[in-house]
């Protein structure tokens, strides 16, 4: 399990750039509140991360889709992603009996990754919601349909103090079933009822039916902070994923594109199935 990574200067520069991007101070403006006094988390939220940008049309009328790639070489786009994922220091600690499986999926599991096969990313891999609808008794999370998140999805999370329904606990679902409560200005969501098909991350991080996920969400100005902690019998200790931040989309005309079918067509054409990045 212990592999050491030797990073080139180019990769190091990308890591530094990404790290610096996380140090942007949050806005200090007041957090809007709902009538019941809780922070208002409603709105469209854009994940702050290293992403492609559409530019144009330029003077010639042409349009460029820029993908973040080392040395401006688009061929490095996925290689960079793989290096960043594998060089990450924050890793779940699995019990020894699972080490071989996780390592094999990490290095050889290209076509076994559920997201590769158009399956949902699941919670917590799906990350923070892309839109939030909030009422005093429940909060609704909407997730846009994108390659790395899987199909569009939604979660309806009660905030009225109820516990999980017995049928939810007995279910095996991709997103689990969450119940939420406020701890001061932080929304805490505890979810159960997961399947054992989703991965926690790109690097083959599997989990069992016993997984519980606790998400903590708070708003600072127009920045949404999200983190999730996974507890599972496959792990030696609970694992907290790296926090993620989203920024409020100020566009009053913001919208989601409609969801589209997902059909995996690449697997049959792949020459080297062991190349994941």
């Amino acid at each position: 399990m212990n592999r050491k990574f030797i990073l080139s200067s180019e990769v190091k520069s990308i890591l530094v750039a990404l790290a610096l991007s996380c140090l942007v101070p949050a806005q200090t403006q007041e957090v809007p509140r709902t009538a019941d006094g809780h922070p208002d988390l409603s709105g469209y939220w854009i994940l702050i991360r290293n992403a492609g940008v559409t530019a144009g049309p330029d003077a010639a009328g042409d349009i460029t889709l820029n993908l973040p790639s080392r040395n401006n070489d688009i061929a490095n786009f996925e290689k960079d992603f793989a290096v960043l994922e594998r060089s990450h220091r924050n890793k779940p600690l699995y019990k020894p009996e699972h080490w071989d499986t996780v390592q094999d999926l990490d290095w050889n599991g290209l076509t076994q990754d559920p997201v590769f096969n158009c399956r949902p990313a699941g919670v917590p891999r799906v990350g923070p919601p892309h839109k939030i609808i909030q009422t005093p008794t429940e909060i609704v999370f909407l997730y846009d349909s994108r390659v790395n998140y899987g199909p569009a999805a939604y979660r309806v999370i009660p905030l009225d103090g109820r516990d999980h329904h017995s049928l939810q606990v007995a279910d095996t679902s991709w997103l689990g079933y969450g119940v939420g409560h406020w701890e001061d200005d932080t929304l805490v969501i505890e979810s159960v009822g997961f399947n054992n098909e989703s991965w926690l991350g790109w690097t083959g991080y599997i989990h069992s039916w016993d997984m519980t996920v606790t998400e903590r969400i708070y708003r600072e100005g127009n920045t949404l902070h999200w983190e999730a902690t996974v507890d599972d019998t496959m792990l030696l200790e609970p694992w907290t994923l790296d926090p993620q931040r989203s920024r409020l989309n100020p566009d009053p005309e913001a919208f989601f594109f409609g969801s589209v079918p997902c059909e995996e067509r690449d697997a049959e054409h792949i020459v080297d199935p062991n190349v994941r990045g």
């Binding site: 854009i46 790639s69 996925e78 590769f116 913001a254």
Partner: protein, 132 residues
């Protein structure tokens, strides 16, 4: 050749919303395509599949020896094409020029690097170093 008039709304969306479209990958393209080889074809669109994780475009290409081969071209994620506001410019029975990385298995299959529309507008996929 006349250039395409891009609706101002789409340009607004592309810039104002940040227009991020693919922060991680579906698969390692180098496992499927020769990413250091660049070829060009011109053909007539026969089928458009606007699906995730990657749209596919099929074009009849005259090989010059009396044979017409139907090529499959895989593109970047659909949301990227949507944000460019070009979906209705990608239609059957029209002629396109496609720059692509060829499939490593020798099939008539490529990974789209750029596509030139009948209007003359060129849609280009490009790498941009995040440290710059």
């Amino acid at each position: 050749m006349k250039k395409l008039k891009i609706p101002s709304m789409y340009v607004f969306l592309a810039f104002f919303l940040g227009a991020s479209f693919m922060a991680s990958a579906h698969h390692a393209v180098q496992a499927q395509f020769a990413v250091d080889e660049f070829e060009t074809l011109t053909g007539v669109m026969t089928k458009v599949e606007l699906i995730n994780p990657h749209p596919y475009f099929y074009l009849d290409v005259d090989e010059g020896n009396g044979q017409v081969v139907n090529w499959a071209i895989e593109s970047v994620a659909l949301n990227a094409l949507r944000r460019a506001g070009l979906l209705k410019e990608l239609a059957v029975d029209r002629e396109y020029t496609v720059e692509y990385n060829p499939a490593r298995n020798g099939e008539p299959l490529g990974l789209m690097v750029a596509i030139t529309l009948p209007s003359g507008t060129r849609l280009l996929m490009r790498g941009q170093d995040p440290s710059q």
